[in-house]
Symmetry: C2
């Protein structure tokens, strides 16, 4: 049994047990509309929502209802959760090597449209063998090196060998190229992000020229996250973008936002870790009941929302320390505060429930369906 919900629908936010993950539904819906509105300006480019951010079937459904053509996931286990809930188009934006995972993926391909990334000819053959054994067809995207030190074929010889292995197997369908520049998402100035994506798009163009020279059709070029998707959308080479965090946003992305000037600046912080003061040293610091088991710190400390002169300075496992510049304001034992997580994706993965709130009341409790789906 997963831990019980921190509150039921109808509960005032002030009565939610903490720490709890809450999302402001008005802001979440606004973010979805912002994305849909922006993408409507690029009718030749699709958006595929990255579900590793929320791991939540209800949110995937809402993204698809808002215009996403499907979802991305990182793990086979995540794909199983979403396919099991009827999500029809799933891209695993990662390499899957273990033959047992490939078997599971091949089985899923019997119920949903499944694609996976690949950067190695032997791996392509293994994917093909799994699809053959299950009598299904798996889409394969060749991941190309983007200058980000992650997966991806580097150079035309590796690309040629991988494409040959894919085309050699009737149970595989070459879908195109995956070119995701992860670190570019978090470069702080628009100029740096633009330079990174220009470099990546040039790599894509070189790969496309090679494919064309070989007579290989490439229907899809996919990549781009919340920090850069407007650049990929406008690049002229991408046919699909994969933003995830935009529905929630986080403190790290907020540091990008300062450069403004794009649709990016329109996304609102909708996700918060609700926490409460459990110990108070007036004028100096307070302890709250959320530490790094409630708000992930891989991208820095959470930021207090709507509080001036108060800084979250340290996260222990199960409590956080907030320090006051001057006085302790109106804080008292039990006082609720909202934390903007440093990084939304791993924070959601720490929780079993997302509480949707509106006008100060809990409206819905969404299970984090694929929480912990590591395999």
């Amino acid at each position: 049994m997963p831990p019980s919900t921190p509150a039921n629908p109808g509960t005032p936010v002030s009565e939610i047990e903490t720490p709890a993950l809450i999302v402001e539904l008005d802001l979440l819906e606004e973010n979805l509309q912002t994305m849909a509105g922006f993408m409507s300006g690029y009718p030749e480019v699709s958006w595929r929502a990255h579900a590793k951010t929320h791991k939540c079937v209800e949110l995937a459904r809402r993204q698809i209802a808002a215009g996403a053509i499907g979802i991305c996931v990182q793990k086979t286990g995540e794909a199983e959760v979403f396919a099991g809930a009827g999500i029809e188009d799933i891209l695993v934006t990662n390499q899957v090597v273990d033959p047992r995972k490939l078997q599971r993926l091949a089985r899923l391909a019997g119920r949903s449209r499944i694609a996976v990334c690949c950067d190695d000819p032997d791996n392509a053959r293994a994917i093909g063998a799994a699809a053959e054994a299950e009598g299904t067809r798996i889409g394969v995207l060749i991941e190309i090196e983007t200058g980000a030190k992650r997966a991806g074929v580097d150079g035309t010889a590796a690309l040629a060998a991988t494409i040959a292995a894919i085309e050699d197997n009737g149970n595989l369908h070459f879908r195109g190229l995956q070119a995701y520049n992860g670190p570019a998402q978090h470069k702080r100035t628009m100029a740096e992000r633009q330079a990174a994506i220009t470099y990546t798009a040039d790599r894509v163009r070189a790969a496309l020229r090679f494919l064309e020279s070989q007579g290989v059709a490439c229907e899809t070029v996919t990549g781009g996250g919340t920090g850069t998707f407007p650049l990929e959308a406008a690049s002229g080479v991408y046919t699909e973008v994969q933003p995830g965090s935009f529905i929630f946003m986080d403190a790290d992305y907020a540091r990008n936002g300062e450069t403004g000037g794009t649709v990016f600046a329109a996304f609102r912080q909708s996700l918060f870790v609700l926490t409460s003061v459990t110990s108070l040293r007036p004028g100096q610091y307070a302890l709250v009941d959320a530490g790094h088991k409630a708000a992930a710190v891989d991208s820095g400390m959470p930021v207090l929302h709507g509080q001036n002169g108060v800084t979250f300075t340290r996260a222990a496992d199960d409590y956080g320390v907030i320090e006051f510049e001057q006085g302790s304001g109106n804080l008292s034992l039990g006082r609720q505060l909202r934390l903007i997580p440093g990084h939304c994706d791993p924070t959601v993965n720490l929780h079993d429930w997302i509480l949707g709130v509106r006008d100060g009341v809990v409206e819905c409790c969404w299970k984090v369906d694929a929480r912990g789906a590591l395999l």
Copy 2:
């Protein structure tokens, strides 16, 4: 339903699906014996195992069988899991403020011996009210400030007010003092750790003198973690120590170990995140299937076990990057590697299962019973 186990008992380690959390049972048992052996040299000092490390009922039972007088937890929800499984003596090493949590704690006090830390007279009265309403008795330890910027009363006026509030309520039992110096656990030299604990023990002595002057008996002084418990045990003021990580150890504690010279150096790394190579750039780097959703990075990157010239340099959500100093050794796609987590406690909290392995075979699958028990 939690995600399924990465392997069943009887499976060779080489066939465990990854990423998976494994513990070498021989080393775990050795760590328990090391602790029991050391503590037998201090018959006047008890050890109470901190269960926030493992969140696992089976491990709590083994610790108690090895001589622990009970367990510590950080959250009311953790206390519920362990009390529900029959663990009889539980200390919540944290402040609990929310009246609903206090009600739950008061109910638990009807089935297990429950104590909680307190550093505020109003909070003491709230604990008392909850115990009264449930007709149970809750033990209370006053947490004192240890120089570590965490919870704790600071000075005799605050101590006097809190003790008065506890003694005023017949449903509360004053059990003594909690004095845990968290940051001291990770100071890198024994001299620094000794200085920190000497300071903390002096604060305890001052508090004990005050209590004595007021005619208040203090049966327990508790504190000390894996990094410092030999110092608290030898201090002459502590009656109980609270180590948790020693059963598993981690990369951060290993950095302490270099100073050697104590029982600490005898603890063995028993916990590993088993991961596999999913992408390989020979001679440069490889990607593995464990990122920071599988191995917590709040205390730094995981460290590769048993591999020279290979460094885990970056954790993304769902993959990790390992870089080679020279060549890529014998790595190939699918190759299993063992990671020593940077920090064991939050790493365990990312997993639903701990696989106990011995002689290369899975012997048991333990549920991480209190994973995600944040409330």
